[in-house]
Symmetry: C3
Subunit: 346 residues, 3 copies
Amino acid sequence: MADPRYFQRQGPFRLAELAAICQIELSDPAAADLAIVDVAALETAGPGQLSFLDNKTYMDAFSASLASACIVERRYAAQAPDGMVLLHCDQPYRAFALVAQAFYPRPRPLAGISPAATVDATATLGPDCQVAAGVVIAAGVEIGARCIIGANAAIESGVILGDDCIIGAGVSLSHCQIGNRVTLHPGGRIGQDGFGFAIDPGGHVKVPQIGRVLIGDDCDIGANTTIDRGSMRDTLIGAGCWIDNLVQIGHNVELGRGCVIAAMTGISGSTTVGDFVAMGGQAGLAGHLNIGDGVQIAAQSGIMSDVPPGLTVCGSPAVPIKEFFRQVATLRRLARQQLHRGGEEQ
Amino acid sequence: MADPRYFQRQGPFRLAELAAICQIELSDPAAADLAIVDVAALETAGPGQLSFLDNKTYMDAFSASLASACIVERRYAAQAPDGMVLLHCDQPYRAFALVAQAFYPRPRPLAGISPAATVDATATLGPDCQVAAGVVIAAGVEIGARCIIGANAAIESGVILGDDCIIGAGVSLSHCQIGNRVTLHPGGRIGQDGFGFAIDPGGHVKVPQIGRVLIGDDCDIGANTTIDRGSMRDTLIGAGCWIDNLVQIGHNVELGRGCVIAAMTGISGSTTVGDFVAMGGQAGLAGHLNIGDGVQIAAQSGIMSDVPPGLTVCGSPAVPIKEFFRQVATLRRLARQQLHRGGEEQ
Amino acid sequence: MADPRYFQRQGPFRLAELAAICQIELSDPAAADLAIVDVAALETAGPGQLSFLDNKTYMDAFSASLASACIVERRYAAQAPDGMVLLHCDQPYRAFALVAQAFYPRPRPLAGISPAATVDATATLGPDCQVAAGVVIAAGVEIGARCIIGANAAIESGVILGDDCIIGAGVSLSHCQIGNRVTLHPGGRIGQDGFGFAIDPGGHVKVPQIGRVLIGDDCDIGANTTIDRGSMRDTLIGAGCWIDNLVQIGHNVELGRGCVIAAMTGISGSTTVGDFVAMGGQAGLAGHLNIGDGVQIAAQSGIMSDVPPGLTVCGSPAVPIKEFFRQVATLRRLARQQLHRGGEEQ
């Protein structure tokens, strides 16, 4: 179970309540009143706990699990242990996420402004915000309702935040406008100057960066991630994007809705990314590219040209993923032939 | 136009004033008194605005632009729309940068020390510095004139800053000396211990890191970038270097003048880099190397050996860029031949 | 010598004292009383200074060094300059590290809590802690003896720190428990939410992250490095791990003892790493993998599958290092053959 030192568990809930939360019909209506006290992984779950099976590589753990209830696709029902109540659905992980949120809801603000915060007299805060010690809120900032601002965050002049945002410790925000229900994890840097200058042997000349960063609703942005403001237009992050830690997003980048960007990926300036694009860790995109809707970019890929919608690419420079693995196999085979012919490559 | 919530535009300027700033002769001297109110990109510029053409892929936008004036190479004059006043020069982007700086100058300090800053009694600050809330300035720090120190920055004991520096929110500085007109974007970490220890199965043994970081004049260093201090000598950043976000620079690295280092590049300890070296994003350099003047390193390259002056390299391990693209083409061709011969690689 | 502005040197020491510290017998017992005032690199060392030779590429510097004493393997004794006193041992760098620590010991706390720190009444601190200005320590935090907490660090509720820890400026800690003698360099982010959510076109659904981060004794964790807390179990960092700057460690990762992870490496969620594993810079590991004890992963490698104990791997996707260099050589040869046959690849 979650360490009560850090997490306040809600519940218990009747199984029928949990089923309603994720809109699942119980396989056994007689179990509606079963008391569920917690969620847990299949291996560690015990009586009174609910788990899920999302990946059939965990089938053995499922069959051996002591969980009282489990969210699972209908086709795996036969492998369930005796006595386990099943909640059948097609997206078990999504359903489990909703149930887990019931036990461990998003933090709610403990309304109040720390006397050790510095809030400019011209800044406005909506009702029920929580502002920690060391926070600095500059002139003209507008913050919505129920936001949580973590210790030592710095919100520079004119920044706008929507409702129900969570700003982590040590975050800095400038020249940006952020939607509702956005989470920024600690150390994120939003809105600083982009990397814009004219190369000159006599001294590179800075180009003023006069755009902003606009972030849509329901985004989640990782620790120590950096998003630069636009040069002469805005850097745009669409609603519902999930961006992991240590990601770099250059000036004028536009991300569509629902993109998922794993840690340490970098997107160079002025590249436009469609909706629901997924990028693996440490991928790199050159500047001024167009990446179509639904593109998937494998980890460590290097994208040097436009990618049409729906394609999955891999490698540096990236190619369609089947071609990537064919290249890998070809090179592996040729190198082994070389070995058998003797070490002439040395 | 730039959002006035975040940017205070100067001007308007007479076109002759702007031409003088970038030392350009007007193509049409009669236009000297034309009032220019702002700068803008070709696509969005309108009457009274000045733009530039630097890349001929934007030729259509140039020909269709409503900008009143445009900085452009002389050879493209014929493609200009009727009525546009042209400022001819060989480096249009550089000239535009200077003009844009006239409209949007570098921030000037609002002199004063926030009562919510903590400044040690033995620290000295030059005239007209701006020190935000939450800043901590430790014993013996020396700060020049007209510096701007952002919210919650931490400047540890003995650090020296020149004149006209801008230190972003949440930056931390220790064991370093920084020149004039240096900008450090938020979250930069300068001067912490390098990664130095003796490997030992009984417990790795730390080697004290007793060097410093010295940063020359006119450098620009990105958000969340880390520069470690030297182990037994200093880490050196030459004058006029532009370093992007999330870059790692190891102990004892020496960068020459005017280097340009894109985001997420890492330079391992004790590598020496010449003047005007350019590195693309996510490049990685091994330690103890010598990189010659004017070398260009493509994005995602991995540098495992010295690079002579003037070379452009790519790949991991890096090779001269022509060879890299020849390798890419060769492998692509071989993999396709393989495909046509059937799937034997599986 | 180290700049006295930043470093307080101890000593001088008698050579016999230093030899005792690293358990070495002096080659010349008559030198026991030689006064050593400092450590230095071979090239810069002078009379009264001690140096070391660990890498025979520095043999010329050794033979020309003016150091009064030098730690060196016995087999290189003949190359020493006249008059240099030698301290023979098999691990010269380790021995030098111990001697250097005598001259430049780990910082000791200047006990006291800054009046500009904010410490919750329910937090407990052991004796002789040093807490800088701007530090925020939340409810229920427990800090051991002799810890140094740097300016503007944020320690969130319930965090536990052992004795003799050094927490750098601007670090943020939450949901974590940290052992003794751990150093966290500036800007590290420990314990924030992992990157856990169920993909859904209607809006990705967050999975509450209800684990912790547990860090063993004697770890050293770099600037701006991020370590996410576990989802339903804990993220574990074994004792004696050295982790460089800008490293990303995902939720549920388990690192064994004594691992060494160079800058900008990323380890994806739920990957388990054995003891004494070494990773070069910018390496990337996929999730849910098992990496055996003693594995060595070269810089920029991409690990897509389990690695058995003791293997050294390189490349993306990674292969055993001999195979990697064979592949590199094969491709180089084929591309050159292609060149000689004419530019048909274009």
